[in-house]
């Protein structure tokens, strides 16, 4: 009895193994040709192929995220401003001392802002605040801040943002962003500050 049981067990094992062995060759088949291809490919393709593949992945990631972001733009206007500023959708333009002209950096900041304002942010209106550092006088700086705010507004308009969506206000040196009294603080305080004000 024991012998027959053993014999049966063995035959089962053999049959099962045989079935497994028969099944196995079918799967490796597509694998091996691939391996052969890749084995021969490396010397020819070297490194160039991976980068195009990687950038494609990144692009598709970005494209995928975009609609998600548009859907979840904060409804609260203050949160939206923080969100849009931290993601670089709207960027402030910074100025040189006692100047209202736009530097290359200021132009690029406003270009990014214009792109968003014409795209996902096209429903929103904008307030441009003109600010100055504390080294001037209060009354002249109010006028200087007005010039800065309007320079930024005009540039956004030339980039295709409808000027009727943009209001300006000058705070002169009344509302510094950095209360410090050094170059670092002053450079932060000389700005056209972009504020989303609603739809």
């Amino acid at each position: 009895m024991k012998k027959t049981m053993k014999a049966f067990a063995w035959t089962v094992c053999v049959v099962v193994l045989g079935m497994f062995a028969m099944a196995c060759p079918k799967k490796p088949k597509p694998v091996t040709p691939e391996k052969i291809v890749t084995d021969t490919a490396p010397p020819v393709v070297a490194t160039p192929p991976p980068p195009p593949v990687e950038t494609k992945v990144e692009n598709s990631d970005f494209v995928q995220e975009k609609p998600v972001q548009a859907e979840t733009l904060p409804a609260d206007i203050e949160e939206l401003n923080r969100y849009a500023q931290s993601h670089g959708y709207i960027q402030d333009a910074y100025f040189e001392y006692n100047e209202a002209g736009l530097s290359a950096d200021a132009q690029s900041a406003l270009t990014s802002s214009a792109n968003w304002l014409k795209g996902d942010g096209k429903a929103y209106s904008l307030l441009v605040e003109g600010h100055c550092d504390e080294r001037g006088t209060e009354q002249y700086n109010l006028a200087l801040g007005d010039k800065r705010a309007n320079t930024a507004k005009e540039y956004l308009a030339t980039l295709g943002v409808d000027g009727s969506r943009i209001r300006t206000v000058s705070y002169g040196e009344e509302r510094p962003f950095d209360p410090g009294h050094d170059d670092s603080a002053w450079s932060k305080n000389r700005r056209a500050h972009l504020v989303i004000v609603g739809k």
């Binding site: 307030l127 006088t137 209060e138 009354q139 006028a143 200087l144 010039k147 320079t151 000058s170 705070y171």
Partner: protein, 416 residues
């Protein structure tokens, strides 16, 4: 009154002569009279009640008048001609105060060394009016001597953030009686008096943009003057009409404009692509000073009230602003940057010479007292912006504000 005045003037040279033999500066003896002021006599009230609202501000005003010097009396000694002679007092001011119901009746009498009355006047008012009464008495006393009132009843408008927002405030000339006249709950700055001392024009961001407002000195009757322009800063009443000069802007081009106080008849005075700011009228209303960046750095210019005949006034300093004419129109005070620091500069308009009223910290926005003998200005010398008052010769500087930060002083144009 006129008779008393004449008497006083006639007596002046005599006093001056006697002073030459004393240690007193003979050049000052002709203009400074030594006056003894004993404690008031009173019935129905106490010295404590009248001391700080009446006696202290009165003696301070008289001491600051530049016309009188107070001759200190020895304590607990009956006042006799001999005592007055010993302390070199040329005048004696005696105050008698009595109650009539809720009113204090204050009788003031000034006698000379011969016992003759040179000034006599009676005032009446409740406790709340005693400080104003003191300033009025001091002002009348100065007027009796030189024909023009002292600045003691004048008011200084300013902006203060002490209640959490910048609002427009008023105070007496000595910093007393500080009170808010606006309650926008929003940035409100740069007040400027009307020539009759009844109204102020200022800028507020109450609607999110900077607008021009006019309000009366008691905080009522507020109106927004719709200019149709942006900025609406540095607004200032004409001394001779209902016009208001201000900085208006179209598309980021700030220029000087004039508009009537009802918002009609707007006119543009400057027409340049650079920044123009900070207009101020000459006392006769025929000229307007302003700041322009047309040469690159902000400098002071003067033009006719119609905008013609522009000429540059400031040549020292790489940033000049806040120009304001003296009450006689002969000088101009402005903020001038010297060695990287803002200082008050006083320039003589006829010969172009100027001098600096040097002080610690940054010193900006000078404004003349109505008698032209003082300037108020703002300084951050204490680490915070506060308002100070200084005599034109740089002496007797006094801090007038202490709570929160305070700036943009504008002294009323009339003394009373």
């Amino acid at each position: 009154m006129r008779k008393l005045l004449l008497l006083l003037f006639a007596a002046l040279p005599l006093w001056a002569q006697t002073q030459i033999t004393t240690t007193m500066d003979p050049t000052k003896a002709t203009s400074v009279l030594r006056i003894a002021i004993p404690q008031p006599e009173f019935t129905g009230t106490t010295f404590e009640t009248i001391n700080s609202p009446l006696f202290k501000p009165l003696t301070r005003d008289i001491a600051m008048s530049g016309i009188f010097a107070i001759a200190p009396l020895p304590p607990n000694v009956p006042i006799t001609p001999e005592v007055l002679q010993r302390i070199n007092a040329q005048l004696l001011l005696k105050l008698a105060i009595r109650m009539e119901g809720e009113d204090f009746v204050v009788e003031a009498r000034v006698t000379d060394t011969t016992g003759q009355t040179q000034f006599g006047k009676r005032y009446r008012g409740p406790l709340a009016a005693l400080t104003r009464l003191a300033h009025m008495l001091a002002s009348d006393l100065v007027r009796s001597l030189n024909g023009r009132p002292g600045p003691f009843l004048s008011q200084i408008g300013f902006a203060s953030d002490r209640d959490g927002h910048w609002e427009i405030w008023l105070m007496d000339w000595d910093g007393g009686n500080q009170r808010a006249i606006t309650h926008h709950g929003a940035l409100s700055i740069l007040p400027s008096w009307s020539p009759d001392n009844e109204r102020m024009v200022y800028t507020s961001f109450a609607r999110g943009t900077s607008d021009m407002y006019v309000i009366n000195r008691r905080g009522g009757g507020r109106i927004r003057v719709a200019t149709g322009l942006q900025l609406n800063t540095s607004a200032t009443f004409s001394p001779v009409s209902n016009d208001i000069a201000f900085v208006g802007s179209i598309n980021g081009n700030p220029d000087i404009y004039v508009i009537k106080d009802d918002g009609s008849n707007r006119r543009r005075l400057t027409n340049s692509s650079t920044i123009e700011s900070t207009p101020e009228w000459s006392p006769n209303g025929r000229q307007i000073s302003f700041t322009s960046g047309r040469t690159g750095s902000p400098q002071i210019y003067v033009m006719d009230a119609e905008g013609a005949n522009v000429r540059r006034i400031s040549f020292d300093g790489d940033w000049n602003d806040d120009a304001t004419f003296s009450p006689d129109g002969e000088q101009i005070a402005y903020t001038s940057r010297v060695n990287g620091r803002f200082q008050i500069r006083i320039a003589n308009l006829s010969n172009g010479e100027s001098r600096i009223l040097a002080g610690e910290g940054s010193n900006e926005q000078p404004t003349w007292s109505p008698d032209g003998k003082w300037l108020a200005f703002q300084s951050n010398r204490s680490g915070k912006w506060q308002i100070y008052r200084i005599r034109l010769d740089g002496t007797d500087i006094e801090q007038l504000t202490f709570t929160g930060e305070n700036k943009d002083p504008d002294w009323s144009k009339k003394s009373d």
